[in-house]
């Protein structure tokens, strides 16, 4: 039994180890994808053969506040040389925060053959594994994607509003200061500024990074995760859960943890998150 299998996850197959990746570097059926918050990291050195998917440049619509559409996803898939059969393995900085975000966006297009490299960049680097500045180029592919499906793992503000008080469980994965509203507006940073501080009524506060081990970026074991989300916060696998943060990126990490590591079947990411809710007129807010 591998270390990952021994941690008791509901879907251990969705994680691969750094060692697994090291053994699949030249595997044409596998594409390693780095996704970071910091755009400097990939060009400064990445896993040999890995391509970059950038959260701002690749995954977001350049004009509207939304994700790329089907044509955009097909273009991205072609650029990184994948087909629907390719196993894509995401990794990145910050405990795989952005890797989970990219993974989540890929799931909007049904690319189920996707995994996360446990520990991300941090673990790979700590183990002294090779990094290169050579940017690989793969032959473009023809990828036929379905239309983006926003119904299963994504939720919009109006539906969140309707669900308040119906027993839905909201998980606010921001910092405690953001949750309490102590941190309201961000001076000199209008793009992500918000007019009201606080949280969506009834939301529990579980900062996203609690699901990861800070020393090597790996995910905590299922028992440790249950202690946080179930014993401490009272969630259970049958709950309908909505995770949110500021713009929906940190909450995709929690979505990943609840969906795949603990096996919750009904978890959605509210990517409008606090930058939408805290700026919306008339919606209820709790502090």
């Amino acid at each position: 039994m591998t270390d990952i299998e021994a941690r008791g996850y509901a879907h251990p197959e969705v994680l691969v180890s750094t060692e697994w990746v090291a053994q699949h570097l030249g595997d044409p059926a596998v594409r390693i994808i780095e996704s970071n918050e910091d755009p400097l990291l990939y060009p400064s050195g990445h896993i040999p053969g890995a391509v970059q998917v950038d959260w701002a440049a690749d995954l977001n619509d350049p004009l509207r506040r939304d994700y790329l559409d089907r044509a955009g996803f097909e273009k991205l898939a072609s650029r990184i040389g994948i087909t629907p059969e390719t196993t894509v393995v995401f990794y990145g900085d910050k405990n795989n925060w952005w890797a989970c975000y990219a993974f989540w966006v890929f799931q909007l297009f049904g690319h189920e053959n996707a995994k996360i490299m446990d520990g991300g960049r941090l673990k790979w680097e700590k183990e002294g594994r090779p990094l290169t500045r050579d940017v690989p180029s793969y032959p473009p592919t023809q990828y036929q994607a379905p239309e983006r499906d926003d119904s299963k793992i994504r939720i919009f503000r109006d539906e969140v509003l309707k669900k308040l008080g119906t027993g839905v469980k909201l998980v606010d994965v921001r910092s405690p200061q953001e949750y309490t509203g102590e941190r309201t507006h961000m001076p000199e940073y209008p793009q992500e500024g918000v007019l009201r501080g606080g949280h969506i009524p009834g939301a529990k506060n579980v900062p996203w990074a609690r699901a990861a081990n800070p020393e090597d970026g790996t995910f905590k074991s299922a028992a440790e995760l249950k202690a946080i989300y179930e014993q401490e916060q009272g969630l259970s696998p049958n709950d309908e859960v909505i995770a949110y943060c500021r713009i929906g990126e940190r909450s995709s990490h929690t979505w990943f943890v609840l969906t795949y590591l603990l096996g919750y079947p009904n978890v959605r990411n509210y990517d409008g998150s606090w930058t939408e809710w805290g700026n919306s007129v008339g919606v209820p807010i709790e502090r």
Partner: protein, 150 residues
């Protein structure tokens, strides 16, 4: 009203006209030149008063007094993946160390957004501004001490 040092303004202008790819390449070249604070200035554990608040990369800033009354800035970035913080530290050191304090104090912290682009994430933007803020604060403190009656 003092203006920021010419060398600093030159760097800002270079970034203002760079496209995304050029910007990334320039920043990596800066980050490659990063040298941590020398032991004669500070050693671990670094004192909290030199720790930049709000910086996720765990950055520290020191100001060394030079004989001509200017300052030499030193930095530490504890997050090994804190490349943006390292690049920014090198830019600040190369363009502000040894410059007149009035000019250093005039550096606007939001230059971060010209150098790193508007798409820089909020957390990173705040942290990088925090580094610049600490540098300019050191300059203002020295100026205030100089102007204080003996």
């Amino acid at each position: 009203m003092a203006q920021p040092p010419k060398a600093f303004q030159q760097v800002i202008d270079d970034f203002a006209f760079a496209d995304r790819q050029e910007r990334i390449e320039m920043l990596i070249e800066y980050a490659d030149r990063f040298r941590e604070v020398p032991p004669h200035i500070a050693a671990r554990p670094f004192p909290e008063e030199h720790h930049v608040q709000k910086c996720e990369s765990d950055a520290y800033v020191w100001a060394e007094d030079l004989p001509d009354g200017t300052l030499k800035f030193h930095f530490a970035v504890e997050n090994p993946q804190g490349l943006s913080a390292k690049a920014w530290a090198v830019i600040l050191d190369e363009t502000l160390s040894g410059q007149p304090l009035e000019e250093v104090a005039a550096v606007p912290c939001d230059s971060v957004f010209t150098v790193f682009g508007k798409e820089v994430s909020m957390g990173k933007g705040m942290g990088l501004m925090g580094i610049a803020d600490m540098v300019t604060t050191f300059a203002r403190q020295r100026l205030a001490a100089r102007n204080r009656p003996a």
